[in-house]
Every structure is written in C-alpha cells, then in structure tokens.
Amino acid sequence: DNTGGSSSESESEATPAATQEAAKLPAKFETGVKVALVRQLASGDFFQQWLLGAQEQAKALNVDLRISDARNNNDQQATDLQRAIDQKPDAIIVDHGLAATVSPLIDKAVEAGIPVVAFDVETENPEVISIQQSDEDAGKRIGEELVKGIGGSGDVGYVYVAGFAPLDRRNRGWDEVKQANAGVKQVAKFGKVSDSTANDTQEQANAVITANPDLKAVLAPYDEFAKGVVNALEQANKTDVKVYGADISTPDIGVMTKEGSPWVATIATDPANVGRVAVRAAALKVNGDAIDREVLIPPSIITQDFLKENSIKTLEDLRAKLPDLNTQDTATADWIPKS
C-alpha cells in the first residue's frame, strides 16, 4: 500500500526548484542544446502530461525541444524520425513506437553519432538509453490488487486491445495473476481504441454490464478504458462493481474521488515525471555523463481511499502527497536542476 510522506517535506521538494543551479550548466547547454522529440501519439491525458514534464525539464536545461507527433500513424513517425536525424540535433528522444518501424532508424541515428533515448520502445541497440515504466510489473500489481479487492474469487471483466505495446505488457502481467488465482473468472474481454477511446469503450461496457449481473470487478489497465467503464457503471447504477485502472491524471483523480465512484485503484507513474526523466537522460547523454542503459520507472498504486483521505484533487496535490511519483534521483547529475 502506498502512503504519502509528511506533507511539508514533500511540498518543498515538489515545488519546481529555483534555478539556483542553472548557472552551473555545462558550456554546451549555455548556448542551447537541440533535442528532437519524436512521438507516436500526443493526444490523451497521459501524453499531454508527459509533454508538459518534458518541456519543463527542457526549459530548466536550456534545451530547445523540437516536437513531432505522428498521430498514431507509424509511417509518419518513421518520416519524423528520419527528418530528425537529418536535422542533426544534439539528441533524439523517441516516445513510443513500433520496434520494427523505429529500430532501424534509431540505429541510423546512433551511427550518425546522435545520442538516442527511447521511451517505451523495444530496442536492442546498446548505445540507446531505454526508459520503461515497468508495465508488466504494473499489470501484475494492479491485477493482484484486484484479486485482493474481490476477496480472491469472482467474475471479472477485462478491457484489452492487442497491438499496443504497453497494453500488451500489462496484459502479460495480468495473465500471470489469472494463472495464480483459479478463483478469478474472466467473463468478458472487450475494449476499443480510437480517437475517442473512453466513449467507445463505454458503449461496450454497457453491454458487458448487462450481460454479467454477477460482475465483481473490471480491470481496465489504461485510464481511457477505465473512464469508459466507470461512466457505464455509473449510468447503470452499478457502483458496487469495482474498477481497477492504470495511469493517472487530474481528470482521472476527479473521476476516482467522485461520490460513489467505482474506480477504486489505479497503478501509475507520473507522466510528467517520466517526461522529465527522458529529457534528463538525453541531457546526460549529450554531456557525455554515464547513465545506465535501462532506466526503469516503478509505478505506484494509488487508491481511491488514499486520494480521499488526503483530499487530493489534482495531479499537483498528488505529487505533493506521494513524492514517490517523482523519481528525482533517476537519471540525474549534480549540474541538472532539481524539479
């Protein structure tokens, strides 16, 4: 279980630190460093928060962040990455992407001497810093939380769409949990990813709820899924069904803390933190500092009760109450301004 640290302490830490150390930036950074951020997708709370974090960190480091968004069009992402390489930035951050599409280009970038940081991309190139939120672990942990929540057995719905790397990894974690808990019966598997995932999932959830009156819980390991399910449950007045989600954002907090909300727990990293880590990793690479090839960002379980007890309303509040979310010590160095 997660509990927040003492509030006064974390508050001072969470406030973006003054740029007291900015003066100590390496010479390279004084003149400005160009980093290309090549994204597979930018819409959705997670990706927006991620970007805000990255931008904030970039600003502190005097990094000129050049962003492209492929809108889930992988061909476009390949083009974007190619263009980024042609522009010879000081570093490239690849945010999500299909391994087969981006790996060859990542190799090319490495060949061209450009440091690459890959977030949630499976790449084997030893030169690349690979940042991952341990999704498989996240799937397993929220799954276990669910099993605990329903008392070890019962009918469970599961929202899953194959083909999205983080979802696939979380799925592996959930598979493990299912195997270990024979009493848990997965009675429905549904979901839809679109430009309007929450709404489309809601439509399907309606049907699932109707079809399975004995449903005890739904695992929806992506916040858009979770929101859709929650809406469906609320409108069907079946708030006794528990929803276990993944990811967190201010709107998600609103949904979770609403009176009678069925969304009881979510497993998340702070997307803004992840964005910051990515930029820091790139900065380290640019400066030639040592850094592990694999950077894992562990997720935390956040429960509805925890949010309510601490009257957390926004992501800001949450960061204050749950400093674990901000992995300040991941991928950092003395010269990097703390945030």
Partner: protein, 339 residues
Amino acid sequence: MSTTEQPAPIQVGASQGLERHILRYGLLALFAGVTLYFALSEPSFRSFNNIVSILQSVSTVGIIGLGVTVSMVVGGFDLSIGANAGFTVMLCAICLVMFAWPTVAVVPVALLGGLLIGALNGALIVRLKVPDLLATLGMLFVLQGVQLLPSQGQSISSGLVLDGKEYDGIFTEAFLYIGRGRLFGEIPFPIIIFAACAIALWVVLEKTRWGRQLYAVGGNLEAARLAGIRVDRVRMIAYIVSGVLASLGGIILAARIGEGDVGAGSPFLLDAVAAALVGYAVLAVNRPNILGTTIGAVFLGIMLNGLTIKNFPYYTQDFVKGVVLMVALLLTFGVRRLR
C-alpha cells in the same frame, strides 16, 4: 397500308408482389432477424435496461446522423459533422471549466456555435460555390485545429492547469443531466432528444412543403429554382440544420463523457455516415431519409451491443458488422437485379 386491330388497353401497375416485398422489407427483416437472434439467445439482451442502454448509446450518433441525412437530402455532404461535435465538446468544457458558466448559458452558446459552423459551410457552398466536400473538409480541419488551441491540446476537466493558472469550474449537475439524466426515472434524456429530433425532422421532410423543397433541391437544383424554390436559402438551411444537430450531438457527448475530451468527435463522422447510408437502403427508398437513418443508427447500436453481450472478441465485431451490412446490400439490391 391500313389500320389493323384496335390496340388493347395498357395495363397499369407495377412489379410482382413477392419481389416488391423482399425489396421493401428484406433489409428490415434481416435486421429484425438479427435482433431476434440476440434477444432469444441472450436474456440480458432483451432486458429493459439493456434496450434503454442501446438506445442511449445510439442517440448521439443518431442525432449527428440525422444532420448528415439532411445535408444529403439537398444533394450535399457534410464532412465536418464529427469535427463539429468534437469542437462542441471542447467548447462546452471551456465554458464550464474555464469560464465557469452555468448550463443555461453553455447550451445556447454551444448550439449557436453549431449554427455558425453550419452557416459558414453553407455560405462557402452556396455563395462561393465551393464544392461541398471541399468546403466541409476545410471546415473539418479548422475545427479539429481550433478545438485544441484554448487548452493547448489538453483535455479539459476541473483542475486544468494552463500556463500556471488553475481552472476549477466544473461540469455542473444540470449539464451532466443532458447526457445522463433520466426522465420519469427510466428513460435517459438523450433518447428523448434523439426521438424528438427524429420525429420533428421526419414530419418536416416527409409531410411538409419544406421537406419537399429540400428533396427537390437535391433532385435537380435548377429545376427547383425555376419552380420558385429559393434554393440557396434551402441549402443554407440544410447545412445549418446539419451543424446544429452535430453540435447537439456534441453537447450530449460532452455530458456523457463529463470532460473536454480532445478527439471525442472524430469517430462520429464515419458512424453517422454509416447510419445515414444504411438508411438509404432501408425500405428500398434509395434516397437519404430520416426513418432509414434512425433505423440504421439503432441497428448498428444493436449489433455492437449484441455482439459484445455474446462475448464476441472485439476483433470479430467489425467483421460481423461488415458481413451483415454486405448481406443486407446483396439482399436488397441483388433481388432487384435478379428479377
């Protein structure tokens, strides 16, 4: 060289009974058959709650589909409906969260927005004679873009932080009622709105002079003009109706989602067009018509719900939907052909 037998009177009438009936009711029968199959095999499908939930879920797409139908009736096509609905979702969210306006102000403003969009489409098409697809495509891009600007691409919900300022207006209960409330404790409000729109439009299009003028304009613009119909005005009105209905759909969507979800509108273009096109074939009318669109929307909703209840894997649903549609087409048009 001489007048021969006296010609017998010409028979008046039309084609053989059976064939005509297959033509007219074949598609309906297929729909009824599919629905019956779901109802008989899945008790939960035929529960009152589920029927209500199907109707509720189709109301948004249905209302937007009615709009496309009207634009199709005048021989046009409004590609901007989905973007318009999405824009309205964001507009509502901005008014509620960023300006903290009351519902009574937000709804008229949102409808006015839809009206203006429709009028702009109409002006481009009618006044400047821009081809309809082109004009509404331009509008689509503009709307898709505009909706992202105020929140810098973020979804909008209470607690939104923008350039350091926090906005804490909320989606009021009254507003949420539009999408979630129930009349007489049973009938969701969106169903009422959908039904009211469908009935009103059906009466206007089928039973009044205006409807006839709309169809005449779609049938032969010049002939309609020479029959004294103010064709420019009629087309303008059609695009305005389409715009207003799209924004009405957007308002309901916003109330259903409960936040300003970027991209919420996009899936509705294809879905609404699909409903309207299926409506073409219903009753073998072979022209856009309100009854057909309504049946089309409801049927597509039934398919989605039924398949989910029957626990068809999500990846088979599109396929089944497509196959049913194809069979329907073969049935309707094949019979006509094979007589």
